[in-house]
C-alpha cells in the first residue's frame, strides 16, 4: 500500500492567536514496500504529517489516500478509519502518550484485544513482541509508568509490532534507546521490510537515513524540501535543511577528493567501505 498525499495542509488552533500552519500544501507519494525516512528541522511538521496518515489528525484541506481509503477534511466521511488503523500504525515520538494500562503485558496486548483477539492469545502475542524488543518476563507485570525512558519506548514499539500492521510508522524510534536497543529496533525494521511491510521512520539520526532507508523526505517549514535517495541527498547541498552529512559519507567524499577509488553509492556503513578498500588492496 502506497500513501498518496494530495495538496495536504494542516493548521493547529485555527482562528486563534496561536494559529500554526504545520503542513503547507504538500503533495507526495510514499512508496510501497520501502523504508522511507522523514527528516528536517525541529518543528518542520514531521510528526504532524505522519499523524494524518491514519486519521489521528484530520487534514485542514487536501487528502491522504491509502488503498481505497481516502482521508479528507470531513471527519464524518472518514468512515472506515478503524479498519485503516489496523493497517497503518504509529509509534509516537513520546512513548508516554501511548501507554495507559496497568501492566506492561496488558498495554502491549490492548490493541489486539481491541481487534477481537481472546485475552489469552493477545497476552501471548504481547509476550512475543516484548521479547523481540528486548524486554524479558520480569517486565510483564510491571506498570508501564514506572519504567526507564528507554524501557517505555520499547514497550510502545512492542505494542505496535504486536498488531502486525502493513504500514509501520515510527516517530524517532531510537531516541532514548541505548546503542544495542537501537540496533535491535533497526534490525527489526529491516526484517519487517523484507517481509513486505512499508516503513516510515521520522528521525534526526543521519546514520539511520544512510544505512537503513531507501527513500528520504526532507521537510522544511511545513513543505517538502527534498525527496530522493539518501546518497543523492547527502551528495547535494544540505546547508539549508538543518541536517547533517553522516561522518562516514563525509569521509568517503574526502577519500574521493584525494582520488581514492571507491563507489560511494554502494556505501551504507563502515563495513561496505572496508570491503571496497579490501578488494582494492
Amino acid at each position: 500500500m502506497a500513501i498518496k498525499i494530495n495538496n495536504l495542509s494542516f493548521v493547529y488552533m485555527k482562528k486563534t492567536p496561536n494559529e500554526t500552519k504545520a503542513i503547507d500544501d504538500i503533495s507526495l507519494e510514499i512508496p510501497e514496500g520501502k523504508v522511507t525516512a522523514i527528516i528536517g528541522h525541529t518543528g518542520s511538521g514531521k510528526s504532524t504529517l505522519i499523524q494524518t496518515f491514519n486519521g489521528l489528525l484530520t487534514p485542514s484541506s487536501g487528502t491522504v489516500e491509502i488503498d481505497d481509503f481516502v482521508i479528507t477534511n470531513n471527519p464524518k466521511k472518514n468512515k472506515k478509519i478503524k479498519e485503516l488503523r489496523k493497517k497503518v500504525s504509529i509509534v509516537f515520538q513520546f512513548p508516554e502518550y501511548q501507554l495507559f494500562e496497568e501492566t506492561v503485558e496488558k498495554d502491549v496486548a490492548f490493541g489486539l484485544k481491541n481487534y477481537g483477539y481472546k485475552e489469552e492469545d493477545a497476552i501471548k502475542e504481547a509476550h512475543n513482541a516484548l521479547t523481540v524488543v528486548g524486554l524479558d518476563e520480569s517486565f510483564y507485570k510491571r506498570s508501564p509508568f514506572e519504567l526507564s525512558g528507554g524501557e517505555k519506548r520499547r514497550v510502545a514499539i512492542a505494542g505496535i509490532i504486536a498488531l502486525n500492521p502493513e504500514i509501520l510508522i515510527l516517530d524517532e524510534p531510537t531516541a532514548g534507546l541505548d546503542p544495542e536497543g537501537s540496533k535491535i529496533i533497526l534490525n527489526l525494521i529491516s526484517k519487517l521490510n523484507e517481509e513486505g511491510k512499508t516503513i516510515i521512520i521520522v528521525t534526526h539520526d543521519m546514520n539511520i537515513v544512510l544505512n537503513n532507508s531507501d527513500h528520504v523526505i526532507v521537510m522544511n517549514n511545513g513543505k517538502i524540501a527534498f525527496e530522493g535517495t539518501p546518497n543523492k541527498l547527502f551528495a547535494s547541498d544540505v546547508s539549508n535543511y538543518s541536517i547533517d552529512i553522516p561522518r562516514l559519507f563525509e569521509f568517503c567524499l574526502l577519500l574521493k577528493e584525494h582520488n581514492v577509488n571507491i563507489d560511494i553509492d554502494k556505501i551504507k556503513n563502515v563495513d561496505d567501505l572496508i570491503n571496497q578498500l579490501k578488494e582494492r588492496k
Binding site: N18, F94, G176, P179
Partner: protein, 273 residues
Amino acid sequence: MKCIEVKDLTYSYDENTPVLKGISFDIDVGEYVSIVGHNGCGKSTLCKLLIGLLEKNSGSIVIKGQELNQENLTSIRNKIATVFQNPDNQFIGATVEDDIAFSLENMNTPLNEMTQKVKEAASKVGMIDYLTKEPSYLSGGQKQRVAIADALVREPEILILDEATSMLDPSGKKEILDLISQMRKENPSLTVISITHDIEESYNSDRIILLDEGNLVLSCSPSELFDNRELIKKYNLTVPFVVELKYKLEEIGYKFDQNPSLEEIGEKLWQSK
C-alpha cells in the same frame, strides 16, 4: 575542588529490586562528565538522587562540601539545574515565557531583569518566536529546547542534562553543545553532567562514567576507554565513528598512531592507494 562526592549510594524503588547497588564517584568543579549505560541501568535514578527528588536508601551525597539532607535541600537545589529526560514532566508555565521565567520568579529576580534574561535564554535555544505558545503544544524538539532554556536561565553551578538533546535535529544539537561549551569557557567553574546514549557526544566530554545494572563499572577519559578494545568488548559498547573506522582498518592491515584524527586516517588511505 570537589563538586560532587558520592559514596556507597544505594537505592531501590521496591525492596526486592535494588537499582543502585553502592555507587561511589567524585566529580571536580568545572568538569564535564558523561554518564552512559544501557536502558534501565539507573542513570536517571542517580540524577534524581543528586537533586534530592528521590531519597537514597544508604550512602552519602556531598555537594560542594555539604552533605545533602532535608535541611539544605532547597539551598543545594538552587545550585543545580536539571533538564529531565521527558520535557513534558518539567513544564510549569502556561506559556513558554512564563515557563522560562518561573525559576527566576522563585529567586525574586526584579521584573525588568527577568524579562531580559528570559528573552536571552529563549534566543540562545532558538525559541524566541515562541514565547506566547503553550509548552505542551510544541513539537518534540521545541519542547526540549524550552526545557534547556529553563535550566540555562537559572545560571546554575551544576548543570545536569538527562538526554536533553535526544530529539534535536543535528544542527540544533550542535548549537546546544556549542552553547554549553561556550558557557563553560565563560564560567570555568560550571560543572556539567550529561546522561547520553550519543557516543559522539560523550567522546567530547572530560570523563565517561559507565553504569551497568546499578554498579559503576568504569570511570575514565574517553580516549582511555575507546583505546581499550577489551573494555569495549566486555561491556558491548558502541564506539565513535573514528574509532570504529580505525579498528576495522587495522583488521585489514593498516597501522595508525594512537587516537588518529579522521584526516590522519584518510591520509594513510590516499597515500597507500
